[in-house]
Subunit: 340 residues, 2 copies
């Protein structure tokens, strides 16, 4: 199987004895062309199965009609949903999408940015990696006036548009729910502390506690590296606490699921012995036993909004000033939190 050969305008032109410019005009339905000529060309193009060379086109008009997307990992259901929303919306508006994953590595993230920029994408949608705690590469994009929008895992200070969930609000909802259920000693399992969502969700957690007159108790905050091993470590540590907390709120569902599984293997009964809750509403959370109380974040919607705003910026519809879009989350109460 050899390198496929694509029909070009030149070949259509030769076949019909007209110039390439005429072909070009015919195919974009220019009004300054004789209808008959146009008809013949369009017909011939279809017959020869002509497909425009987007590369050449992009080069000429210096717009690629392509967007770049960088997510930490595609295999996460949440990010996959975001991507899905981005794709569908971008396609509807005539844009293609190049997707990269940083695999939670800042170096990979930088490399992704480089290739996407080299590929002349018209704009970028970025969700930062876990490792990303320095932001020169983003400021660099900013300085070069390359359009981009941050979503979900954002950096707050940089003056570009961002789409986030109301993470603090979601954490507040779930903590409040646990408090209402009668739980008072509520433990928060956080991710690494410099993560945007770690901070925000802790904020909401503390706010809910405060409303019940409960102050921050360092012994009721644990930090996991978010790996399976570390989640198990945390689960074990909690199991050994004396007294144990009434309830445990994990920053993300996978942690809660790992903790739950570990506890089940130790014979700890949930929710009888402790209440448990997560965050994100992964598909998994609905089917574990007991079903996991969590907070739902519509990823598809987030992707859609992020890309819509980026395209509005590119098309000059949106104002040039960066905005911050905050999506609300919804509490999904399930059996795992029915402790009392």
């Amino acid at each position: 199987m050899k390198k496929g050969h694509q029909i070009t305008m030149k070949e259509i032109a030769k076949k019909l004895g007209v110039s390439v410019s005429t072909i070009s005009r015919a195919l974009k339905d220019s009004p300054e062309l004789h209808p008959e000529t146009k008809r013949k060309i369009v017909e011939m193009a279809k017959e020869m199965n002509y497909q425009p060379n987007l590369l050449a086109q992009s080069l000429r008009i210096s717009r690629s009609k392509t967007l770049g997307v960088i997510v930490p990992e595609i295999t996460s259901h949440f990010f996959a949903s975001c991507i899905s929303g981005i794709q569908d919306t971008a396609n509807k508006r005539g844009y293609n999408v190049m997707i990269c994953q940083s695999n939670e590595s800042i170096e990979q993230e930088k490399a992704n940015i480089r290739t996407l920029v080299s590929s002349q994408v018209d704009g970028l949608l970025i969700s930062l990696s876990r490792e990303t705690n320095t932001f020169e590469h983003l400021y660099d994009l900013y300085d070069r006036e390359i359009n981009f929008v941050l979503f979900d895992r954002v950096q707050e200070d940089i003056p570009v548009s961002k789409v986030t969930f109301n993470d603090a609000g979601g954490a507040y909802q779930v903590t409040h729910h646990l408090l209402e259920g009668g739980n008072r000693r509520i433990l928060y399992v956080s991710g690494p502390e410099d993560l945007y969502i770690s901070k925000k969700r802790k904020e909401g957690y503390l706010k809910a506690l405060a409303e019940y007159g409960i102050g921050e108790d360092p012994s009721l905050i644990k930090i996991s590296e978010l790996t399976l091993d570390d989640n198990i470590r945390v689960a074990n540590e909690i199991a050994e606490m004396n007294p144990r907390p009434d309830a445990v709120f994990c920053m993300i569902d996978p942690v809660a699921v790992d903790v739950l599984t570990q506890w089940k293997s130790m014979g700890i009964k949930i929710p009888e012995e402790m209440a448990l809750a997560g965050f994100t509403n992964n598909p998994t959370s609905a089917v574990v036993e007991p079903p996991l109380t969590t907070v739902s974040q519509p990823g598809y919607e987030m992707g859609k909004l992020a890309v819509s705003h980026l395209l509005d910026q590119l098309d000059g519809i949106a104002s040039e000033d960066p905005i911050s879009i905050v999506l609300e989350t919804t509490l999904v109460p399930r059996k795992s939190s029915q402790h009392f």
Copy 2:
């Protein structure tokens, strides 16, 4: 924020008072250049933060170093894993990847092919949509000598390379496992009959039965459209059967999970009343209660192999003759199948 401006070779050339061709040669480390000139240029390029315009480059050499990927849906964990494998491997070999989803629609699939071809991808990796039961668009690619490889959801007759799982083998494994467990009346929940995997898995199911001297029983085969509603319908139908089957083997995990959930809500005990098994080993299957017996398909590996072979073809390393790579699956026995 205005359209970002990229540094070009021309600007470096002007700044240094040399020609563009010299810049080009310096940047690709041509040996026919004075070392000193080369050094100066490379230095200046770095200082000005020059990034090559991949579009122009691709146009010039008529190779885009980009591959196109089409999957039915990104949000499926299995396909996300494939994509991940494809990405990592492609990047390692200097290729970029454009990902599209067909959303299980043949029209979308065709549209995806069109845009990817227009984008001058060097090759395609395609997993067919559920709707795809006509294949002109693939033969068209073939006729135009565009390299592509089919994976997972393939069409058998078309003379291109394919990467699949031993679906029949996997179904055999799981059916055999159920038989060994003492089950005899084993019901198979299939997907739409024209689907490649529906057929293959049925094949393995029947083969295992045959080895136990059991023939095909049409009343023990149900077909689901693979939607939630239809899975529930099937679950109900099975529940109402009299006598019920000993065991149920679902073509894919999500069906098994839906069925399980429905049965639990009806108070049917699994595996006490019936054994249950799925296929694919989704993350969900490990955490449902009871954990679901299934067959694991390493998607990351599949993606890796598919893209490796495609790149080998492109680079002329692999023979031009299409090959068929078949990956073996592994039985993952869990509690849901411990009926007797």
